[in-house]
Symmetry: C2
Subunit: 549 residues, 2 copies
């Protein structure tokens, strides 16, 4: 089982250091520190374990270190920055592991860009040796790339010529769409084993500047100070400690403080119940700061993030995630309003951004999402996003016979209107009602009000509203049917339907690049007995089928 929870004391592969407003994340991968036996992590090559530590570090830099305004990513090794994903690891991994690994590394790189764009914690990448493949892709996530001018260090994306696969972590997209490298330059660059160094790397905008070895450390400091000086992050705030989350695992349950999950292995689904706060959450910055990880929205985001990663990685036979909520809607609304009313506070901002990233992680997970809205639920505001993120939702019209629990309602809050956009940069409501802004406006007028099943259906918020007589059958059939389809076809279908509207670098990465990658990762040219991924490092030449399809 792969565990995503770690902390700096346990890091094997990264060294983190602090100097005023600047932190340095130095990559120093332990060759013998791979997640599973069978490969050596030479030349700062990485596996999922290395990236789990990087993800942990980026989260801590945001929550524990408000004073950090610029992060330098560099290598602690001599003459090598990072050789990218470990090829032996890729060559011996299952298709599912490769795809999941790439998805997680992509999310972490996007998180770095989110940090820069929304938290003003900038990233500076000091490429102090060769950066190949995923190594250069890590640099591409930064705001500024400095390349050592030592006559030999290059940046490269040699996946196509060397391995017959694509750069797996957004490299192609970021080269043309983020750095606006001209497509013919990009084409040449991406077919060049040895990569590009020196002046051409700057001229083609593959890196931002070129620095001689003797000046690298000083110039990096200088540049970091410049970024830090321009940042709006507070200098005097105190971070909160991300102490480990509480999680209990049994054969078929995963229990957190804010979430209970029950896995039905024969039914291929998991029931995920989100619990509302048990009391009214803290309402001002000082109280939120004091509560720290106990502040419900943060506690929920951390639990939810871990659950998604756990299910996605360790339970890939569980094809459908069925969401429910339980508890007091007023407390959820109070939590949302606390986030909205204190939006200028650095910590509150971080919590909201983390919630946003976690819902995005849900959107891009290749699992069917069904949301059930029953009496006793609290699909309010941020939790209503679980209805909007669902491929399909069912809301009970009325109450269950013999029960005295009041009929369910949906209750919009300000959190549904742009604070937590999807990867396409639209809110889930805007995506749902593409080109029908009037429907979004009508729902906005209902902020803080309870919408019953008929009203919710009328406003387009839920898919079906069966009554007590039909509920059980309709829901059961939906879940059973989902479990009867081809997982691959569902993945492609959901990826195509979930992100209507405009595209962004993120949707290109998850929608387009992942798809090409899925395909190419299956092809004999890459993974066949004579494929490049299999033969890499053996000295044998891969034997390619050259045909174009």
């Amino acid at each position: 089982m792969i565990n995503f929870s770690t902390n700096p004391d346990q890091y094997k592969h990264w060294k983190i250091s602090f100097d005023g407003p600047v932190a340095t994340l130095a990559m120093d991968v332990a060759e013998d520190g791979g997640m599973v036996p069978g490969y050596e992590l030479k030349l700062n090559s990485y596996d999922l374990g290395v990236d789990i530590e990087l993800y942990d570090a980026t989260q801590r830099l945001r929550f524990e270190h408000p004073e950090i305004k610029c992060v330098i990513i560099t290598s602690a090794k001599d003459r090598v920055f990072c050789a990218g994903a470990n090829i032996s690891m890729l060559g011996t991994s299952t298709h599912a592991h490769k795809v999941n690994f790439c998805k997680f590394t992509n999310e972490t790189r996007n998180g770095i860009e989110d940090s820069s764009a929304n938290s003003d914690q900038k990233y500076l990448c000091v490429v102090n040796g060769t950066a190949a493949g995923g190594g250069y892709e890590l640099a591409l996530a930064a705001d500024h790339i400095m390349l050592i001018d030592d006559g030999s260090s290059t940046v490269s994306l040699p996946e196509v010529p060397l391995l017959a696969v694509l750069p797996g972590t957004g490299g192609l997209t970021r080269v043309v769409d983020k750095r606006k490298v001209r497509r013919d330059h990009a084409d040449y660059f991406c077919t060049l084993n040895e990569g590009i160094k020196g002046k051409r790397a700057v001229d083609w905008n593959l890196v931002d500047e070129l620095i001689p070895r003797s000046k690298l450390t000083d110039t990096a400091k200088e540049r970091a100070a410049e970024f830090a000086a321009a940042s709006s992050r507070p200098s005097d705030a105190k971070g909160i400690k991300l102490i480990p989350i509480k999680r209990e695992l049994t054969e078929s349950t995963i229990t957190y403080n804010t979430i209970s999950c029950k896995v039905d292995r024969s039914g291929l689904n998991a029931e995920i119940i989100i619990h509302a706060p048990k009391s009214k959450p803290e309402q001002d910055p000082a109280a939120i700061q004091a509560a720290g990880v106990k502040f419900w929205p943060l506690a929920f985001a951390r639990d939810f993030d871990d659950l998604i990663l756990h299910l996605r990685t360790n339970e890939n036979e569980i094809t459908t995630w069925v969401f429910k909520t339980e508890g007091n809607s007023d407390f959820v609304e109070a939590a949302d309003n606390s986030l909205l009313n204190n939006a200028d506070d650095w910590l509150v901002k971080e919590i909201t951004l983390f919630l946003k990233r976690t819902f995005k992680r849900l959107d891009v997970s290749s699992r069917s999402i069904i949301t059930l809205i029953e009496p006793g639920s609290c699909f309010t505001g941020s939790l209503m996003e679980l209805v909007l993120a669902a491929d399909r939702s069912f809301m009970l019209d009325g109450i269950f016979e013999g029960s005295n629990i009041a009929a369910a309602t949906l209750r919009p809050t300000g959190m549904n209107f742009g604070v937590m956009p999807m990867c396409n940069n639209l809110s889930r409501l805007e995506t749902r009602f593409l080109d029908a802004t009037e429907k979004v406006i009508a729902i906005k007028a209902e902020i803080g009000k309870d919408l019953d099943a008929n009203a919710s259906e009328g406003m387009g918020l839920v898919t079906f509203i069966p009554d007590d007589i039909d509920w059980e059958d309709e829901v059961r059939i939906a879940i059973e049917e989902r479990a009867s389809y081809s997982g691959d076809a569902l993945t492609g279908m959901e990826a195509s339907l979930r992100f209507a509207g405009p595209e962004t670098i993120e949707t290109k990465i998850f929608g387009r690049l992942s798809a090409w990658q899925n395909w190419i990762f299956q092809r004999p040219n890459a993974v066949g007995e004579e494929g490049a991924l299999k033969l890499f490092g053996t000295g044998k030449q891969a034997n390619f089928d050259k045909k174009r399809v």
Copy 2:
């Protein structure tokens, strides 16, 4: 060998009829008319042959029938509109054939939308019986969908539940992005074998209106008349006849009036030489009309379109297309200026739009494109697009030793500035210089001027400018290297690098959907011995791997 050239006298599957400004294309697929033996085209199901006829018909409707302002697509069969792509055909086809087939059907559907958007020749789809899968996708390309209200006829996209593949012709994208069907409705719809009929089909915007059988013909006529009345197409113009193009095929050459192509099978490439007009092309609408298919831009578009389709379909081991041009730049410029100066003429407009569609077909072809700019060439205006469409270009700096042919130049014309956008709706120059409009403006200032190698490189128009000493080696190595890579990886890489910038329904279809499809078409759930595509119609149940990756 598959031939894309046909004409109405040879149609087996479509009946075309005319009534004033309205044409009717009635699908009446001949069961025994499949392109290859082994399957029966029952229930108006189709193979590539059916779509080649549809493509031919749509082209003739534009060029031969300026008076046609609305086209009705319907079925000549009773109770069935179209059952989509023939499953037995898909089940027995190679991966390459399936992918190529889908690409061509997509291009034809996009062409229908282009006709509506840019030629004001509207499409009305009269779904007079069940429309399943590709049948409904054909309807989705139309401006208006009328569904018969007979208590049984449905529209459906049953590919996921029934066949474990995705709708292959833009269905998922058009449902959510064109018709703005809500994503949860789309999810339900796309997992429903039996499809949706009646009021729900209208409520969910899957179709535009519902018409009882008794009123269907009359209402369709009425609607067609409304569309026709609103169209700006001329009532009094005379069409031109699309007489067959002249093509000579040998084992290694394909020769047209305007193009010579030489296939190098051991080198896995084709050299494609475009010949400039031999004299100054016609300059006014009357002369262009009189010249008809002999007008050079139209002759070139038709030859080029056929060549791309031929190479793509029949020569999939030829991985690299190497473009050259030969002839008088002044005549190319005159051709371009004739198109630009007479842009309001219906025929000139059609020719320009056809050129645009043909270059788009080039962009989405999964072949590497290398363009060589040598002395004697005429990369002017519309032919300069071959430089901009290239993955990489080489321009000789100076002349070849011992030759007295003057050094090559590029010469921009108005055709390079927005008249022939790519699928992303930007010109190739805008895509090349994303966010650097000033570079496009600088090139625009050079319209009609000759740019030598240094100027062309300086303005970012070409990739490399070797001199006579290096030319042969550099070009040879580029072509040889290309032939040494994995075809699949190149396909994914090129698809990712060619379309930077904004996305459209078309880029989503070719960039994203094609990729998912490529993957899913390879998976055992679809094409394995127990896969749904293989077992369809046998009565046996497919055995799916449910795992999500």
